[in-house]
Amino acid sequence: MSETASTTHGVLAGAQHEHPPYQRHHFSSVAQQFDASNFAMWLFLLTEIMFFGGLFTSYLIMRNWYYPAFVAGSHQLSIFLGTTMTAVLIISSFTMAMAVWCAETGRKRDLILSLSLTLLLGVVFLCLKGFEWHGEWVEYHVPGLRFSVENFVNPASDPQVFKEYHDKPLATDMAENVGQYFFLYFVMTGMHALHMIIGVSVLTFMILRARAGDYTSGHVTFVENFGLYWHFVDIVWIFLFPLLYLISRHS
């Protein structure tokens, strides 16, 4: 729709000089078009920073208020799983960066390969995340829907975690506040996963267009901008990982 619309009213302006088919008519040059969309993407990421900013603020305040509950909640997560997910995501960021390089240097076959690897790693991350969520569901750690304080008022009821951390039992009211930890855990990882799902969908679409050779003929804007998005999602996880998994190991 957009392409046809812009060509119809492009008759009046800019029709006389030559430009590549991907340049839209209201821009005077490809460089201007690239600059504009790249800058727009950065502004969008600014928005995303503030979007997650509200969640990080809530997490910091709640963690300070209910420190023991957040420690007990954090002990329920598997550091091994968290580390694996971090590694998967970082590698996917690398393959995405490689995809941008392939697009810039016009390597169609390598571009498709890099994008496919990124897609694969993204899906692996989501599967691991789903596996972790399933674990919390089984263990009655989903606040509001399926939650029990049993593991926190009586840590020995969860031998696997107890063996590693030897948590002291929490008073019932503090154990209730573990719900706050898991609420924020689910909202933060959920928002992150939502961004991943959007990213994975766009990747699928991009692979199809890359096969048609759309990105290896000089028009790299879309790949570059999507790369920024993907790296941003990676950065969010770089912070979620220590906050949710690591910093409460000893306490």
């Binding site: 729709m1 957009s2 619309a5 812009s6 119809t8 009213h9 492009g10 009046l12 302006a13 800019g14 839209r24 008519h25 209201h26 005077s28 201007q32 600059d35 504009a36 969309s37 800058f39 727009a40 502004l43 969008f44 600014l46 928005t47 995303e48 503030m50 979007f51 997650f52 900013g53 509200g54 969640l55 603020t57 809530s58 305040i61 709640m62 208020w65 209910y66 606040p143 509001g144 829907l145 939650f147 009211d173 209730e176 506040n177 719900g179 706050q180 609420f183 924020l184 909202v187 928002m191």
Partner: protein
């Protein structure tokens, strides 16, 4: 017509609306709802926001009728709560925040900077659709029973104690928020990357600087309310969350997140107005805006300060005294850039050749009303005073002076000023002046008594009040009736003028902006060829030379 007017119209017997313009270049409903043209999208926004304004205005009318008598006799208490909530939500999120950026900004920014379109036309259209979808959620909410939390969604009231359509209203605001974000991104990119050759930052009209500042707020503040709304919805759906004190949450955390957006948002509601005023004051005084740089940077300063003052909405909510002190001080600092603007506009008029056309009358109204609204804001920023005045009618009067007296006057000034550019035809000048004066009188009669009522201690958001407050409330309701006439008049004569108004020609006000140097209504891509900016903004000498050149050709 009186001699004080500035208008120069082409000879009506020979003048014609340009044969090809953005209004008729493509035809049919599809060409409108799938348009990528920024001017058409502006008109789509105009229609939708005016529709929401009517809903919000109808709610306000019933509120004022109810408050005519001390007893709660017209509507039930619950209904009254829903009415003021609908009035607040619709007027703030679906009228004041979007109308100036999305209507005037969309229409004028590319024209003023000499671009063919905004940088991201498809995103621009998407943001209108998001706005409409968000609006549909609010309509659903209104039709199926409304919401009674007030526009502030105060927790835990909104999350636990009411059983109205909070989820629908919050989702609507969430979606409309993304519409604002996309508009903001679009404007910033457009202003940075799409300026015509020679259009340097300090040759930009001050209108552009204001809208740039507005867009910064859109991009940085809106996502915070989006996440706050998500948390409210989740808390209602799953029954636990970070705001519920009964489950260990903290309602003040919600206030922090909410006002981190909503305080900057009130500057979103005034900054575009200030941009309009700069253009109008300069044009109708035939003088360059006094202190261009100061006015430009004061817009940016207001946007930056807006992020450091939000907790002044929370002085009585239990925030710490120390942080209240800091926020109080920061709030008073906002008075500095606002005052810079008001003084510079006054200095612009000093020894100018002032013409009292409709936009200028609205502008003079703006200056008075905004000054009163701004100064009472300083009262409210003072900690001790705030404890006495907050949550009374004083605060209602204060923000209506800024948002309605200020912003809506500026908006009316802008719509009248650019009406000939948008439609190619003039509105009826004498009716326009009449409406402007009625609006000013009606507005003061409505809201000035509320300052007194608030000072005497009448709390806001109640549907009945002690009988000794009745006289002032009657004044206020009577004023609201006059105000309504002031609004209805333009609703009648502006559509009339689309068909019957005099043909305006490209530059009826002899204004200097690039938007006036192209035909009215403009072409789809604004300019036959991209203009080259070779003079400063508001350079009336350049305009005279330029007109002579055009005439000699």
């Amino acid at each position: 017509m009186s001699t004080s007017t500035l208008v120069t119209l082409p000879d009506q017997s020979t003048a014609k609306i340009p044969k090809v313009n953005f209004l008729n270049q493509e035809n049919g409903l599809l060409s409108w709802i799938l348009t990528l043209d920024h001017k058409r999208i502006a008109i789509l926004y105009l229609i939708t926001t005016v529709f929401f304004f009517m809903i919000g205005g109808a709610a306000a009318a019933v509120i004022r009728l109810e408050l005519l008598t001390p007893a709660g006799d017209l509507v039930a208490a619950d209904t009254y709560n829903k009415l003021f909530s609908i009035h607040g939500i619709i007027m703030v999120f679906f009228f004041l925040v979007p109308i100036a950026p999305a209507v005037l900004g969309n229409f004028l920014i590319p024209l003023m900077i000499g671009a063919r379109d905004v940088a991201l036309p498809r995103v621009n259209l998407l943001s209108w659709y998001l706005f409409v979808i968000g609006g549909c959620f609010e309509l659903y909410m209104i039709i199926f029973g409304g919401v009674d939390t007030g526009w502030t969604f105060t927790t835990p009231l909104s999350t636990h104690y009411v059983n109205t359509h909070v989820v629908g209203a919050a989702m609507g605001i969430f979606i409309a928020g993304f519409s604002s974000i996309l508009t903001g991104i679009n404007f910033i990119v457009t202003i940075h990357k799409m300026r015509a050759p020679g259009m340097t930052w300090f040759r930009l009209p001050l209108f552009i600087w204001s809208f740039y500042a507005t867009s910064i707020i859109f991009v940085l503040a809106t996502p915070v309310i989006a996440i706050a709304m998500v948390l409210i919805v989740l808390e209602r759906v799953v029954g636990i969350g970070v705001f519920d004190p009964a489950r260990g949450g903290d309602p003040i955390l919600f206030q922090h997140l909410f006002w981190f957006y909503s305080h900057p948002a009130v500057y979103v509601m005034i900054l575009p107005g200030m941009g309009v005023i700069s253009e109008v004051v300069s044009t109708f005084s035939r003088k360059r805006v006094f202190g261009y740089t100061a006015v430009a940077f004061s817009s940016v300063a207001i946007a930056v300060f807006s992020f450091f003052v939000w907790a002044h909405h929370m002085f009585i909510m239990g925030i710490s005294n120390y942080s209240a002190l800091v926020f109080s001080l920061m709030t008073m600092l906002v008075a500095v850039p606002s005052a810079i603007k008001v003084f510079n506009w006054s200095a612009t008029m000093y020894k100018g050749s002032i013409h009292f056309d409709t936009p200028m009358i609205y502008t003079l109204g703006f200056l008075g009303l905004f000054t009163i609204g701004g100064l009472t804001g300083v009262f409210l920023a003072t900690l001790g005073m705030d404890i006495h005045l907050t949550e009374t009618y004083f605060i209602v009067a204060h923000f209506h002076y800024v948002m309605v007296g200020g912003m809506v006057s500026a908006l009316m000034a802008g719509i009248h000023f650019w009406w000939p550019k948008i439609t190619g035809r003039m509105y009826p000048e004498s009716l326009g002046r009449l409406a402007a004066i009625i609006l000013f009188i009606g507005f003061n009669l409505t809201f000035f008594p509320q300052f007194i009522l608030g000072y005497l201690g009448m709390p806001r958001r109640y549907w009945s009040y002690p009988p000794e407050f009745q006289v002032l409330n009657v004044f206020s309701s009577a004023g609201a009736t006059i105000l309504a006439i002031g609004y209805l008049l333009p609703f009648l004569y502006l559509p009339w003028s689309i068909t019957y108004g005099e043909i305006a020609g490209s530059n009826p006000w002899k204004a200097t902006g690039l938007e006036w140097q192209t035909q009215s209504p403009p072409l789809m891509e604004n300019f036959p060829e991209i203009p080259i900016m070779d003079h400063e903004a508001y350079d009336y000498d350049w305009l005279e030379r330029h007109q002579q050149e055009v005439a000699s050709v």
